[in-house]
Symmetry: C2
Amino acid sequence: MLIATPQSMHFPAALALQSGASIRGYDLSFETYGQLNADHSNAVLVCHALNASHHVAGVYAGQEKSEGWWDNMIGPGKPVDTDKFFVIGVNNLGSCFGSTGPMHINPDSGRIYGADFPVVTVEDWVDAQARLLDALGIETLAAVLGGSLGGMQALGWTLQYPQRVRHAVVVASAPNLTAENIAFNEVARRAIVTDPDFHGGHFYQHGVTPKRGLRIARMIGHITYLSDDVMNEKFGRQLRDTLIGEEGAGAYKYSTQEVEFQIESYLRYQGDKFAEYFDANTYLLITRALDYFDPAQAFEGHLSLALARATAKFLLVSFTTDWRFSPQRSREIVKALLDNRRHLSYAEIDAPHGHDAFLLDDARYLGVMRCYFDGIAKETA
Amino acid sequence: MLIATPQSMHFPAALALQSGASIRGYDLSFETYGQLNADHSNAVLVCHALNASHHVAGVYAGQEKSEGWWDNMIGPGKPVDTDKFFVIGVNNLGSCFGSTGPMHINPDSGRIYGADFPVVTVEDWVDAQARLLDALGIETLAAVLGGSLGGMQALGWTLQYPQRVRHAVVVASAPNLTAENIAFNEVARRAIVTDPDFHGGHFYQHGVTPKRGLRIARMIGHITYLSDDVMNEKFGRQLRDTLIGEEGAGAYKYSTQEVEFQIESYLRYQGDKFAEYFDANTYLLITRALDYFDPAQAFEGHLSLALARATAKFLLVSFTTDWRFSPQRSREIVKALLDNRRHLSYAEIDAPHGHDAFLLDDARYLGVMRCYFDGIAKETA
């Protein structure tokens, strides 16, 4: 069993942000797995999505159930094999899992940042990650890897630091959000911001957290992570308190507020759990980073022009039932890379699980990833 | 211009509800358009969906902009031609547009019902509508017509009163909700119920309404009414404060709480408007009626068995981009009716507008409706 050890690094120099603001000295939490080889050519950076952290793989000593969020993908003998690669997981600025974020002290005011934490973008995260790599002595990544919002960071790396990335692996991602994607983010944000316990984002000093809003945000999120099909298969119209075949099965309680269907119970549980640990300001920041990402914007929407800078080799993966970041969105990236005659592989996996599929065990998906990373390892060796 | 006149009728006898509860004397608001013919054979009942009322067609005298919600479909010379048909719009029990609902006095307690208003189902609405027809002297409907939740009522009519319906027109509807449909309803309900201004459903006496929750509910609703395509076409990633081509176009404000994109502005506006007039308890009741509707439930899920009772002729219509009630759901009804060798027509309209399409002007859709109702008129004449 891979034992993970969280680390933290302080960066005393200010980081200029895309917004024009800057962030004074900050900390990044990270973990590494495997050994950096002699010429520092086997490093793989893993970028996380909304609700994840630097704890990508392995478990913490003495905590059996503390698997990293991509533990099925990364570890000894796994598709991204830590016997071959030096893998780095890093928590992004503004997150709530250790790196400097809204619940930390603003050195300018001496008070908790809260809503005053500056808006951070995918590009800002990439810049901060690059400084971490500098500190670790890594000039060039064998690969940068991410799913969903993590895939946007991987794509961002190929544009901001094209010479520092040999391979970019972009899973279940998109070149920007659609109006519908932004709409879901906005509803979630409104639920948080209009919760009376939000206190304009300065709830910390009131001793409360906007849990009502966070619950709603998470419930909306979960609906968009799953496919309609898998929801029907897992929950369908099953009632919570009666099992099919039991006496009284199918008897409604006729209540508007009590849980009646299994799907309601599932969503409430997910919402409750999330609201206990996730920071509301982080939710706002991360969904905004998603909204803002749009490398084609500076090229009047022409993604092919935007990706001309990218020189990395690419693996793109999408999942047929992912309606949040549909295969069509990955194909847009594929098309833009082909327009630039770049080296790429693309796998469209016929998986039933919707957007969540990128975190799940699907033999074909894991097989594609293993095959691609084996190829990178051979180049590196 | 068709001038509409709202009417109200009191029903002194208690109505037994599906839940086992009953509702004492109640009022139904309704409107009629056109003339009932001598043998009372030209009546068309229009059933409404979540956010609509008995005001289906025409305008109120002196109020030019007060068109009924289906005014493009129903009126003199329109697809459902009120020169030929006697059309009835009725507001359902539990709604907030005139018929007895949660904001009225509970005769048992002398206080406003609020959350004590009994849970009503599609079947209960159909029963109440049947009593209205009795009072109007209408034994048999030329047609019952509805879209979305209104389509469920039309289907319900063919099962509860098969001998009283010659034609059922079921538009953009479904034989029951999927887990995903229920999930969206549940998130909306949780947003309302957890709003501190909800006060357990008895907010009326507190002089407040749970507007925060209603806004969120409506925003979620709007996302599911539109197709991804039409959202991209109407809003895309356009920013609110800059027009494409203008100087400074595409400049972000870098804010998590301010409106940045047009889609956000649209959703907030829709949410604000809705929260001003819609009743929170009605929202809970109507979404629950949607959740509960499932004629196949008593037949272990076999819709064909459930629909064996239906003897009406059917027109079913669905829209290709409707992901709330997809064509697949209409096809399930078609299949079940074909299994019973029933007379039916089915039109799948290639419209871009998502679920909303059933309320919009689409020449093919309106043409299909006109053609079908012309046929009914010929039978009736």
